[in-house]
Symmetry: C2
Subunit: 330 residues, 2 copies
Amino acid sequence: MIDIARDLGVSLMTVSKALRSHTDISAATRARVLKRARELDYRPNWIARSLVTRRTYVIGLVIPDLMHSFFAEVAKGVTRKFQPLGYQIIISNSEENSEVEERQIELLISRNVDGLIVASAQSNGRRGLFATLGSREVPYVLIDRMPSGLDANFVGVKDDEIGALASRHLIEQGCRRIAHIRGPAIQTGIGRLRGYRRALAKAGLAALPEYVVSGQHNDISGYVAMRQLLGLGHPPDGVFCYNDPVAIGAMKAILEAGLSVPHDIAVIGAGNVHYSDVLAVPLTTVDQGTVQVGTQASEILMQQISSKRALRPKTILIKPRVVIRKSTAR
Amino acid sequence: MIDIARDLGVSLMTVSKALRSHTDISAATRARVLKRARELDYRPNWIARSLVTRRTYVIGLVIPDLMHSFFAEVAKGVTRKFQPLGYQIIISNSEENSEVEERQIELLISRNVDGLIVASAQSNGRRGLFATLGSREVPYVLIDRMPSGLDANFVGVKDDEIGALASRHLIEQGCRRIAHIRGPAIQTGIGRLRGYRRALAKAGLAALPEYVVSGQHNDISGYVAMRQLLGLGHPPDGVFCYNDPVAIGAMKAILEAGLSVPHDIAVIGAGNVHYSDVLAVPLTTVDQGTVQVGTQASEILMQQISSKRALRPKTILIKPRVVIRKSTAR
DNA sequence: CTGAAAGCGCTAACAG
DNA sequence: CTGTTAGCGCTTTCAG
């Protein structure tokens, strides 16, 4: 900028304003500045600019796993919303580890991101996250997993409802021995389990303890869990899986055992991942409006960023719905 | 920092050094500084620090599509490599649009990223990318798609080889009327097509023009393209698809038409995406070492970043290999 | 081991 | 419409 100013015999300030198309610079001057800037291959230094304006035009997105297509889809939604507005996104992978997550969030705050979208790993009720976020005045939106009792912006689904919906669907399909491959001990996992129990109770079906086995987030854990269920003296005739990857793993185990999905065992997942309908047996699933999560969260965040003062927290609950495919068609 | 210095009766400089564990600060002083910093909930301002050190500890990753699991996997590899080192990643989505791509790269450079990893969209031989990157001295690594004749760091596969390998495999399985659903007119698409032609020629098979149809990157385009092939008077008995999503779409079309994969038509893809083996018909594919792409690129970039002066460009070509599954088992 | 001076590249606020 | 002044929060010399 100094070079441009010198070459043109104007002040540095004039250059600065011209480059940003500030109103009170004559068209002629601006043109000269822009021309010279191009000639010199000038590029503004955003770091310096950010230091004074306190705006970075960077959004932090913290997710537990980029490969999980649910989060990839969310990430895409966020990108699509913010990128055209001149923002860029730092995507941090927490690897489902709340310490990593916390460190990443600290770093993002240190980088003065304009806003934060977080799908919290929150493995065991740590409140560090809240402490970190709450004490700073960075706008943030939580997605998918709502740490309990936190009064913050949230976009996601009611997990109980997913569990209840899925289990009820299995019941309606005539299943009577319904198992659940549950997720980890976080909100989503706990909520879905609760919904499952509720639906079974409501239908007067027994909820055998050995019918609830632990899985993780991925297909391998679903496979392992299903083998465990198959090993029972009295295997289930329907399985509600924590999510689609788990369900995919479970189906693999069932098919490998020479059994039929859905006739021997019906399977339902959650998440409606992109490939669910081209699987060996197209997977019935509970759709949780993945795309909306990203875009809605972005919208809320954008509002918070633009508004002068703190708005009161918004919660958007997306209505889950069953997408029926072959894996439960009995 | 001023507050800490005042409270402790030391200079700002002492605080700065203590916080960074600079050698020439006594342990006692450091402890006091750290303690007070914690009490005040001090967090360093990376923007200010970066302005003077010229290091941001941010890497830019520019990819055409986050949802494509190939790039998601690459992103994961990059994250896993850099995050533990204190770097964060800005992921830019170019949406397969070279103008968006260029704008994003400019922005990333303006943000003083320490390095860049780019899977270029480079739709039509635009050299803007090169001009932008070349003129600045930001270290960068190209992945997956090598803009022709560019002397830069590159990690990827030889696309001809993928095409040849895939086509040869179909020939070995006894296919004689081999079609190709080709990708877009970028390096990867062109290279794979070339390999396909070469393999057919070598085997003395006819390469009918109507057997090469255009797809894009996604499953929908594969579905559409396959329907076109099925509409021919003399449909093919083997199809080599540009990538796995396209192949998945193609298989869907074949199965819907009441035909069998692989008996009526064998299908092979490329990329070995994660779900390839749990599909209706497990998909034979050409593995291109996806994970390696991310990690190797990160390693090269890291070297460039740490080394004082420009190293000479490295090219890493990953050996593709056929992963045989049911979709070609005749 | 501690600190004073100078400045990274840019912009807000105010005067002319 | 143009320019001056005073930093943003931090670090790099270099001198005690």
